[in-house]
């Protein structure tokens, strides 16, 4: 025991820790930099970069670290690169860690909900803004445990630097054992030193997890704050459900307000007057002969649609009829095979010669032309509060100051009746509240056109009305140009100026909303409408 303590406190071994940490730090730091580059290459749209990164991964993940150490130390000098031992070991460790870290990064990035990425694109975020503001903050949170793992493994792997004469802890231990024959005392002591180091890494990992925990209430206003102690292994806090959204129990003032309002449906005269005005307006969105196929399956088959400023068009039709694809083509979230799309007279995503722009340029154009989009699955940025979901993109895309962006966000939250939920995270909001925030977010930059892709389909029936009410006001009070794909026939009748019925990627019938819906000419339309009405019946009876 006394021998063990003697070696445990021996300065010679303790000094070895310094080199162990140096090699580990070089390996992890270098590995992170290399890993970032590798992950970037693998996720790149240029296939050659991806292929090079793949080849690197295969080689460095597939060969033992000990060989890489010896290579960096003994082979590189033959081509004129003679690194000091610590650097050679650090380089080998970094090269070895890089593919593992790259895969972690890639998993983190790919793990971020695709819907949020699409929402960011629709808001006009360039790929780099999207990465920095939406993907990275969420990916990093999910990667911390894996990174902690990697740090521990790098620390232990640094012991292999002993084969290239780095005087780190393991090499010092073996030399000491050879000269004193106190084999076990020495290795127990150095084993304990390694344990202390890896324990320290675990503590740092838990601290960072706690620091980045979105539920760690920053203002202490609501819920119970999650303490660092909750991360101790013997604590059984259910990290997913314990901090139940407070919002569920808070009465929603807007709900009451909305149901009190008399139906805003227009009278027949008002409709006629609107139609006359709209007919004189300029064209807001125009698609001509739009075609698109996925492989052999045709999604859009020569689709023509014209929407004038101030007009509200409802797209109806069975699932798979091309409604969503059409909307996504309008703001160029998706490419198409033939035909043209013009928004505000411009071909979004193409330069004057009709050449396709880079993703970055398309993003900028989306922001200038102003096409807002609302999604079926809301697609709010999960790591941002309701207010930040609205204010953030205004700052990052439109260059607003924080004060202006916050003011605009507050204004819009008030309009959708969610002022009291401004600081809540999306996952603490009900579906209806989330969709209202999403609408506010889409409206924030004052878009010229708002595209709504089945905005109520993912909602529980009792939450549908609050969202429809918000949309109805936008149409009637604000005169906003909107294209809505929906299954809500009655809503379409009340709000839309025109409905277009899609089937198999073409419009098979279109016309004034009330006329088409009450008196369809195409048998397909008629059948679809009668099925939808039949579905409605139980609710109507109730």
């Amino acid at each position: 025991m006394s021998l063990f303590l003697h070696y445990l406190s021996m300065p010679y071994l303790l000094e070895g820790i310094e080199l162990t940490l140096e090699v580990t730090a070089l390996g992890l730091g270098g590995g992170l930099i290399l890993g970032l580059i590798l992950a970037g290459m693998q996720l790149s749209r240029f296939w050659l970069l991806a292929a090079i990164a793949r080849a690197y991964t295969v080689i460095f993940r597939g060969t033992p670290l000990i060989l890489q150490m010896v290579f960096a130390y003994d082979a590189l000098p033959h081509i004129g690169i003679k690194l000091p031992a610590v650097l050679a070991a650090g380089l080998a460790l970094a090269c070895n860690e890089a593919p593992f870290i790259a895969e972690m990064l890639r998993a983190g990035v790919l793990g971020v909900d695709r819907g949020q990425v699409t929402a960011g694109q629709a808001l006009g975020m360039t790929p780099s803004v999207l990465m920095r503001r939406v993907i990275a903050p969420q990916a990093i949170r999910t990667m911390i445990p894996a990174f902690g793992n990697e740090a521990v493994s790098a620390l232990k792997n640094s012991s292999l630097a002993s084969v290239v004469a780095v005087q780190e802890l393991t090499l010092r231990s073996t030399q000491l054992a050879s000269s004193t024959f106190d084999f076990f005392s020495i290795f127990f002591a150095s084993g304990l030193l390694y344990l202390v180091l890896t324990f320290a890494i675990s503590i740092i990992q838990l601290f960072v997890e706690w620091l980045l925990d979105l539920d760690r209430a920053k203002d202490g206003k609501k819920g119970r704050e999650r303490k660092l102690a909750d991360y101790l292994p013997w604590r059984r806090v259910d990290l997913a459900t314990q901090l139940e959204p407070a919002g569920v129990t808070i009465p929603d003032p807007v709900q009451a307000e909305l149901t009190d309002t008399p139906p805003l449906a227009l009278t027949r005269e008002e409709r006629t007057r609107r139609a006359v005005t709209i007919a004189r307006n300029n064209i807001a969105v125009e698609t001509k002969d739009l075609t698109k196929s996925y492989g052999t399956q045709k999604v859009l088959g020569g689709l023509d649609l014209t929407v004038r400023i101030g007009e509200v068009v409802a797209l109806l039709g069975p699932s798979g009829s091309g409604k969503s694809t059409l909307l996504r083509c309008i703001n160029h979230l998706e490419s198409w095979d033939g035909g043209t799309v013009r928004v505000g007279g411009r071909r979004l995503g193409f330069d004057d010669d009709g050449k396709l722009l880079s993703p970055r340029a398309i993003a900028n154009e989306r922001a200038t032309v102003g096409v807002g989009m609302v999604f079926q699955q809301f697609n709010l940025f999960a790591h941002l509060s309701a207010k930040e979901n609205i204010a953030g993109p205004l700052r990052w895309v439109h260059g607003m100051t924080r004060i202006d962006a916050d003011r605009r966000a507050a204004e819009l939250l008030e309009r959708v009746g969610l002022t009291h939920r401004a600081d809540a995270l999306p996952r603490h909001l009900s579906g209806g509240q989330q969709q209202r925030v999403a609408i506010a977010r889409a409206l924030a930059p004052n878009p010229s056109v708002l595209l709504l892709d089945e905005p109520t389909s993912a909602l529980d029936p009792e939450l549908v009305n609050e969202v429809l009410e918000v949309i109805r006001r936008l149409a009637i009070d604000d005169g906003l140009t909107m294209i809505i794909s929906t299954h809500q026939i009655r809503f379409a009748d009340e709000v839309a100026d025109r409905v277009a019925f899609l089937s198999g990627g073409s419009i098979i019938e279109e016309g004034p909303a009330h006329e088409v819906l009450t008196n369809p000419r195409n048998p397909l339309t008629a059948r679809f409408l009668s099925v939808m009405e039949a579905d409605k019946t139980p609710e109507a009876v109730r």
């Binding site: 010896v70 003994d74 084969v163 290239v164 004469a165 073996t174 050879s178 000269s179 076990f184 005392s185």
Partner: protein, 306 residues
Amino acid sequence: MERRVLSQTHRGMARESLPSRKLALGALIAFGALAAAPLSAQAAAPAACAALQEKYPDWKGKTLVNAINPHTPGYETIDPKDPNKYIGFDIDIGEAIGECLGFKLTYKPVTFAALLTTLAAGQADIVISDIYATKERAKAADFITYSKVFDGVLVAKGNPKGINGINMSMCGAAAAENTGYVEVPLIQALMPECKKAGKPEPTVQLYDNNANCIQAILAGRADTYVNDVNTVDSAVKAYPDKLEKAIAVTIPYSVGIAVPKDKPKFRDAVLAALIEVQKAGTHMELLKKHGLDVNNFKEPDILTAD
């Protein structure tokens, strides 16, 4: 607890075996003459060394890197009292050569198998680490031989397998060896012979340092470890209750200082300096200082691949 008592016994034994410890224990008077001897001997040939420094000026005032496998007590290990230093016969003779040619040495500890690759990669300038000079190894480096080789056969106390050398008595035994040791092919050469005699073949377990080979016998994993007789002796002194030396065998090699193949001038300078060091009596004094057999002494030769 048992281990603690044991270890301390070992330490005691090790202390007795190492002259440096005796010095520390106050046996300075007895060894005073010996310790002083190299210095006075060195002083006896300053003129010859000065002439060598004039003839080979390239290394004067330089600090060279000596790659060693510091797991061989008596030849090269770290100093248990000051682990930042290396001690042993090879360390002292290297520094005597350096002193004669006017260079200093720093040390780079590597595994035995990596000694010559480290030299070839230019990560070291010289290797003085109880390495046997063979034709095979001379393909990777030039050698200046300086010591004869006597090997000892280390076995567990009582020699339960009755091993008495690298011969048929080793059939069916497990031999622990260091990766890259010359004993490895010698034991491997036994395999077909044992087979021919209808006996089980010997097996070789490869470790990366001396201490691990000794531990293999202590743990009962290996039956024998054949290595330099002085190394075997120090292991027996450290674990007198558990180990013994079966026999000393002669191996047809010499120990050599390895230098890069592409630096014949350096090789010649080291050879000339070693001759001076031997002439001054330093070589012999160092053998005695480190408790090594004086019969190891050998006049230097050059061994190259061609």
